[in-house]
């Protein structure tokens, strides 16, 4: 049975509804249309007229891990889909219900349970936002340096479900490094804790299987994080974020490698803007300080740490960038642009149709992981794909590319192409063309030896088709793990094509307990 085409009233057994109310109290079992419609969306563009397809049957707001576990146990017993929702800020539809069911919204679980100033850890509920956590850590001189573009609104639990990217990750690591351990409700309702070994606050263990990574980045298909213990760092004394202009892309491309390989201890990352990105900022971002026309690429280098170390390391980074042909853009641009990195990522609210008309547009970002040497080729092919898309459908706009160093070596990069989409005009034909383009974009990344996604996940339409190709035998293991842990396919069914795991069993959940795992359903 495929997902119904309309968002009808809740279609859950009355008994389940009553049981949920018993567990959570009536105030935290939401069935109103607004509660359900507003938990059907994430920022990734989707045809507005198809919104009702993704509306869940109801929403629950558990306040504790035990309540969450009980909700999952009930859903498992009734074979009703569960969709975990944290910030709902992800870009691969992880929090989007594809088969109705129950959205488990964890935002109420946002307590700071412990700040351990000896072990430098914080233990928190999954519903806490990093900015709010850092407000609580400030009096202790500590930070939690997980810094995605969505820093002011994404939540710790969602960072676990996505295995997210930190913009300063080359200095402190990404979510997978910063989350030491976490508590998780399995699809059967059992509560476990995973980390490096059994210690809540240890960062390296060889004891047993390393389960932490298995339960990060699963997009809600393997469980719901209900508590996390996080690694803290001393709040850095100094920040340096010099921006450099280049007259050609190749010099800028060379520069980021040199910066990342310089062995500067306080280096937190480098960002490469290509000429499409510079053109786009010049054209449509009024907050961007325009650069002369001969500027065709930009590089930003970022350093955090003790003041004397940042001063020394910064001098070296400045020298490297200048030697590579970069022109320093000055303190105002450098400090302002970096300080605005979170606010800017969703703006400037509009783009251009192929005819040049200004239109309100949503932002979509493809985010492959690509090795440094392949960046120029991937870039050329990606822009060509978007250009072909634009030729057919003028509602798409090419907003250029960013590349971010992944690790302090600069070997591989988060490689991002931003596409503006006039979502109000996104009809079925344009959507189909977009899905094809996404598949092509993913294919380019794989052909160049990369991964489809460095940070968002890869379970949206289009790209998800190629995940078995990317992972090979590993994908088969994914299916086996999924089926072993979630025998009735209740956890976020439909994601990553994992219904394949159930193709010979007829098991699985869906409206009326139907066989969402049935064959012939395609790869959605």
């Amino acid at each position: 049975m495929s997902a119904p085409a309309t968002a009808a009233a809740p279609q859950l057994p009355d008994r389940l509804l009553a049981e949920l109310v018993d567990v959570l109290g009536p105030a935290y079992v939401l069935t109103s249309k607004t509660a359900r419609y507003n938990r059907a969306r994430v920022p990734a563009p989707f045809p507005v007229h198809r919104w009702p397809e993704r509306v869940p049957d109801l929403v629950v707001l558990p306040g504790t891990a035990e309540e969450t576990a009980e909700v999952v146990r009930l859903a498992n017993a009734h074979r009703v889909p569960i969709v975990p929702r944290d910030g709902g800020t992800g870009l691969t539809d992880g929090a989007v219900p594809e088969r109705r069911g129950i959205v488990v919204d964890v935002k109420r679980m946002n307590a700071v349970k412990e700040i351990d100033t000896d072990a430098w850890t914080a233990t928190v509920g999954p519903g806490i936002n990093m900015l709010k956590l850092n407000e609580a850590l400030a009096p202790h001189g500590l930070i939690y340096p997980d810094d995605p573009a969505s820093y002011p609104c994404s939540l710790v639990g969602g960072r676990i479900g996505t295995s997210g990217w930190s913009l300063v990750g080359s200095r402190y690591g990404h979510s997978r490094d910063l989350v030491l351990s976490f508590q998780l409700v399995l699809p059967t309702g059992d509560l476990i804790r995973v980390g490096d070994g059994g210690g809540r606050k240890t960062s390296k263990s060889s004891s047993g299987y390393q389960l932490k990574h298995l339960f990060m980045g699963h997009q809600g298909t393997l469980g719901i994080a209900t508590e996390a213990t996080l690694k803290l760092y001393p709040k850095p004394e100094a920040e340096l974020s010099p921006f450099f202009a280049f007259s050609d892309y190749d010099s800028a491309h060379d520069c980021v490698r040199r910066l990342a390989r310089a062995g500067v201890g306080v280096f937190a990352g480098a960002v490469l803007f290509d000429e499409w990105k510079v053109d786009y900022l010049r054209r449509d971002d009024e907050a961007y300080i325009p650069q002369p026309k001969d500027v065709r690429a930009l590089v930003c280098a970022v350093a955090y740490g003790n003041e004397d170390e940042v001063r020394a390391g910064g001098r070296r980074l400045m020298r490297i960038a200048r030697d590579a042909g970069g022109r320093y853009l000055g303190d105002e641009v450098s400090q302002g642009d970096w300080a605005a990195r979170h606010d800017r990522y969703a703006t400037p609210l509009h783009g251009r149709t192929r005819e040049g008309q200004v239109a309100p547009m949503s932002w979509h970002c493809e985010d492959a992981a690509v090795n440094w040497a392949r960046l120029p080729a991937v870039r050329r092919e990606w822009h060509a794909i978007v250009e072909r898309l634009r030729e057919r459908h003028g509602i798409f706009d090419d907003w250029g590319m960013f590349c971010y160093t992944s690790a302090d070596t600069g070997v591989d990069y988060l490689t991002e192409i931003d596409v503006g989409i006039w979502e109000q005009r996104l009809d079925d034909e344009a959507w189909a063309a977009w899905v094809d383009a996404k598949r092509d974009i993913a294919d380019v990344a794989l052909r160049h030896g990369g991964s489809i996604s460095a940070c968002h996940g890869s379970c949206r339409e289009g790209e998800v088709d190629l995940v078995p190709l990317e992972l090979g035998g590993g994908y088969d293991v994914m299916c086996e793990v999924k089926r072993a842990l979630d025998p009735h396919n209740i956890m976020n069914p439909g994601k990553y094509g994992l219904h394949r795991a159930y193709s010979d069993s007829g098991g699985g959940s869906g409206p009326g307990g139907g066989d969402v795992g049935g064959s012939g359903e395609g790869v959605r």
Partner: protein, 433 residues
């Protein structure tokens, strides 16, 4: 926190029937708001969420600025009706934090003079609900009583009336009418009477000539905030007529809520015809202190922090003058929290929230007071009478006094603010705005 009872949701058929042909007023609303709503929907990044005082307490994504905009998109699509959404819009104090924190405001604001207008959207959606006959029981009762009495029912079971609207000024011998009048909001006129009394004495001390209105009614702002537009306009017309009849050219306003009403609602009602100068008392007092016309010289031995009233700081950008006054008062130890950090602070007392959800107002005030308690202060100073009642209640737990800035200045200028006629909140158990 409440949600509609499980199982009472109308099915898709009734929804379609309701929304396939929206009322003309609904269609007009959707046309007015569709692009603004889409500007938020298309961004969808929710930076507003963690600064929203309601969201910070309830953690309910249905009650966020993002949802308030997305609902309009869903209405345009015929998926939701005003009946479906109306109740959710109760959950807003109209503090304006979300507008400031919106990346769209921050990044296109300068160039396009663009600002996300969530507060206006909430007001207009509430008005749309009323226009479609969808009422919230608390709002309806509150506005009915206001309409009957000319003033908000701030004293609960104790009726307020025109007869008593100037009682706070007993013994001060203030004239009626004149070129400049002092407008005193309902909460201050009937409940926190020590506040207008302090203001009147300070103004007189500094030589500012002013009178009181001949017949002052509620400013009409609360009715506008809760969606009762026609009533709001009627009250505005009355007050303007009263000013005109007494030759008033200038209105002094001590309440930030009134300041919003007079500088935003009245010009919208009357256009060019509204030629009354509106003066915010706290700005005037700061100037009088600067000019040496008021000299705070009596030490006030308190350790204080300042609560930025939302309508001053977030809605009007007034944050500097109150701090200037505080710094001029001898004896105070002042632990300031900067105005941007305070974007996410609120008393919960605005936008009609306490009328429908007093428990949520109390929770928001409780959070504000816990933040004050972390500073080890004995006093929280506010400059908004509406915030002071719930904050005072929340302060009891921490033994933190809530003092009004105007009153504090009066005390330092030698007035006995807290005893005698009009001292302190009138003894009556009412529910605040």
């Amino acid at each position: 926190m409440t949600d509609r009872d499980p199982g009472t949701d109308s099915g898709p058929d009734s929804r379609t029937a309701e929304t396939s042909q929206p009322s003309p007023v609904t269609a007009e609303f959707i046309e007015d708001w569709r692009n603004a709503a889409y500007n938020c929907f298309s961004s969808g990044h929710k930076f507003c969420r963690e600064v929203c005082p309601v969201m910070q307490e309830t953690r309910n994504e249905s009650w966020t600025p993002t949802a308030f905009h997305a609902n309009v998109v869903a209405m345009e699509q015929g998926e939701l009706s005003v009946e479906d959404v109306a109740e959710d819009y109760v959950n807003c104090t109209q503090c304006g934090a979300c507008e400031l924190r919106c990346p769209n405001t921050l990044f296109t604001g300068d160039f396009y003079r663009f600002r996300t207008r969530t507060v206006d959207l909430v007001k207009q959606m509430r008005a749309l609900a009323v226009d479609n006959g969808v009422h919230q029981s608390g709002y309806r009762r509150w506005n009915l009583l206001t309409d009957e009495r000319g003033h908000e029912p701030v004293l609960g079971a104790t009726p307020v009336s025109q007869e008593h609207v100037r009682d706070w000024a007993d013994g001060l011998d203030l004239p009626v009418g004149g070129e400049t009048v002092l407008f005193v909001d309902c909460e201050a006129a009937f409940y926190r009477t020590s506040l207008p009394r302090a203001v009147a004495r300070l103004l007189r001390l500094a030589g500012v000539e002013f009178g009181l209105m001949r017949e002052q009614w509620c400013c009409g702002g609360p009715a506008a905030e809760m969606g009762y537009r026609e009533q709001s306009r009627r009250f505005a017309e009355h007050n303007l007529a009263d000013w005109r009849a007494s030759g008033t050219r200038r209105v002094l306003v001590l309440d930030p809520h009134d300041y919003i009403t007079f500088t935003e609602d009245y010009p919208a009602y009357f256009g060019e015809d509204f030629d009354i100068e509106v003066v915010l008392v706290v700005e005037l007092l700061a100037r009088l202190v600067d000019e040496g016309k008021l000299v705070p010289s009596v030490p006030v031995e308190r350790t204080v922090t300042y609560h930025d009233p939302c309508r001053l700081n977030k809605r009007k950008g007034v944050w500097e003058e109150p701090r200037r006054i505080l710094r001029a008062i001898p004896g105070l130890t002042f632990h300031d929290v900067d105005r941007v950090t305070q974007w996410s602070y609120c008393s919960g007392a605005g936008g009609g929230l306490p009328v429908e959800k007093p428990e949520l107002t109390a929770a928001i005030s409780g959070t504000r007071m816990r933040r004050a308690a972390e500073l080890n202060v004995d006093t929280l100073v506010s400059a908004c009478p509406w915030s002071e009642r719930p904050l005072s209640e929340a302060g009891e737990e921490h033994a933190i006094d809530v003092v009004d800035l105007h009153e504090l200045l009066a005390e330092s200028c030698g007035f006995d603010v807290y005893t005698g006629p009009g001292a302190g909140p009138a003894a009556a158990g009412g529910d605040g705005r």
